[in-house]
Amino acid sequence: MGVDGETKVLVAPLQQLMQWARGRSMWPLTFGTACCAIEMMTCGSARYDTDRFGIFFRNSPRQADCMIVAGTINLKMAPRVKLLYEQMAAPKYVIAMGSCAVGGGPFASGYNVVNGVDLIIPVDVYIPGCPPRPESLINGLLTLMERNRCGELSAAERYAIESRA
């Protein structure tokens, strides 16, 4: 009810409303494997303070919008990564943070290392660096939020459409 007793209703397509909301609050899953996880933690600290962008780390995949794969994924970890991804509710996004998650990094020729997390799960944003600076990760998250505001499809949705075609 409005102040003067009139009912005020905001009419907008649901899609736009969702884009507006998702574009302003991106909750990543606290999921760190290796060195990059330390820089990911740093993002939440006082100097970088991701909370000001609406980026707030969640401990459960059920509550998270995106997954930051921060570190090397090896053959033992890979099934767990996929399981975590599957536990997240759609729409869901994946950020490959650091050279290892992008393509194996300095360990690419190892006998136990998955050369890029995109071999397991669809990736939306790739952040190079070993490890990337916290500013890079924030830039990656903001890119993801910007795409959301523009209504772009997630990598998972794109793959789903492509595989139907």
């Binding site: 933690m41 033992k76 970890m77 190892g110 290392v113």
Partner: protein
Amino acid sequence: MTPAASGTLMTAIEALEGLAGVTGTDPLGPGGMPCGVAAGASLVSAARALKDERGFSHLAMLTAVDGVEESGGLEMVYVFKRREDCAMVALRVWLANEDLRVPSLYTLWSGAGPLEREVYDLFGVVFDGHPNLTRIVLRDDFVGHPLRKSFPMGETGVSPEAVVIAMQGPGTASHTAETPGAVAGVTMPAAFDPFGAAAQPGDPALHADRLILNMGPQHPSTHGVLHIYLALEGETVVAAQPTHGYLHRCIEKLCEKNAYKACTPLLDRCDYVSGFNTELAYMLALEELMGIESTPKADYLRVVFSELVRITSHHTWFAAVGFDTGALTPFLYAFIDREKILDFFETVSGARMMFNYFRPGGVKDDIQPEAAADMIRYLKTFDRQMDDCVSLLTDNEIFRVRMRGVGMLTRKDIADYGVTGPLARASGYDHDLRRDAPYAAYDRIPVNVALAQAGDTFDRYVVRIAEMRESARLALAALEGLPEGPHITAGVPRTIRPPAGAAYREVESPRGELGVYVVSDGSSSPWRLKVRSPAFSNLHVAPALLKGCRVGDVIPALGSVDVVMGEIDR
């Protein structure tokens, strides 16, 4: 070599004399320590004599080296240490390719168990008498033993097809794995049967309150990808077994392909919260192999950065210990200070975490006077900032109640599992390599070792806080006493080819005694590079640490171990 050090060497040589089944000193052993060659059958009796009669109560390192000699086969290398004078002796056992068996030392040291599992996993050596000889870092379905020289190692690593197969669920593997390096679908990890046969489903003896809880590998409070099985009776932990390997990145094998200097970045990523310490151990080992010395200025700079990185490592732990007990603010406070120190690292080395700064014979770049002045200014205010941080926790009633009397470790556990570092010092184990076997410039900068007696989680907290203050004092003393002169020894070649031989050097890392064992065959890349991980031994004390804990206390107790999975799995 100082007179004291040569005296230690003499008594160590005497200790090896007259051991049954051990022949003479071996020139191919790790440099700087006497090394005996034992036959497999007499290994246990020789180790027992060293442990019980000659005071070498600490099994410092256990590893294998593949085929140094033409005849093939591999050698087991054991390094034993006497705590009193830091004397070390090595034993080597030759194993022929046809018969890769050696008796287990598990009966003498519980801590030998996981180390032997690692050697079994990576080399395929079978340890007779081992209670649980299963893979520890690689998947149970991995084919082959990757640190053998015969293991094929391509340039491209794991193929996408192999990853697809690795992702398949149990029982769906369409692939009979024969090729080395292949994995045939997901299997359950090594058996963990704390309740024995009584735990069979439907068994009337099965107590209703019994439960096996899987913690990790994704858990916000396991400090990395650690997976631990907890066997519970109601709320009480009756048995615990850590499982790791979720971050095994083939560092030791990759080092065998890299040039000596190209190994340093990989070692930075090994213990990623205190890279300088691993670098330093590697440089000390390399310098010993090459027969060079670093300059006095480099010695001091190495102390400065080893201590500063110890502070940042403990900052990370301090943040986590707050999280573990439900406090968010310590993280925010600690990371403000951590960032300031990372800025110094960036000024000097160009990187926040992966420094690649130490070089054989010195350090990469000299420190600028302005940077040194900035550091001195910061370190003088360190105690005050530390007071702010600890005021959040030390006198907090809830925190004290959560930490006091939780996760007790006795001095017997410490010796049995080979625990080192703050974890051992909190149980009254008065041992610190910086004071007892000084390296770099620690012989010129005296170290006060923080010590506590209770051996509980709170005392580990107290020891680490005292260490941070001491580290700031040491770094300040090193900066203020920084000698003039070059920062690196002149004439170190670009491509390093140390003469054939081996060297083992240890440093005191934030987690304990971190050793690097380098074997050279005279070529431009190491024949074998092994990191003695303190966090590995500290983590495997978990069965003793967690037994009797309540479920809610598992997190603070494990957090007080301060594990870094990168260093444990390598």
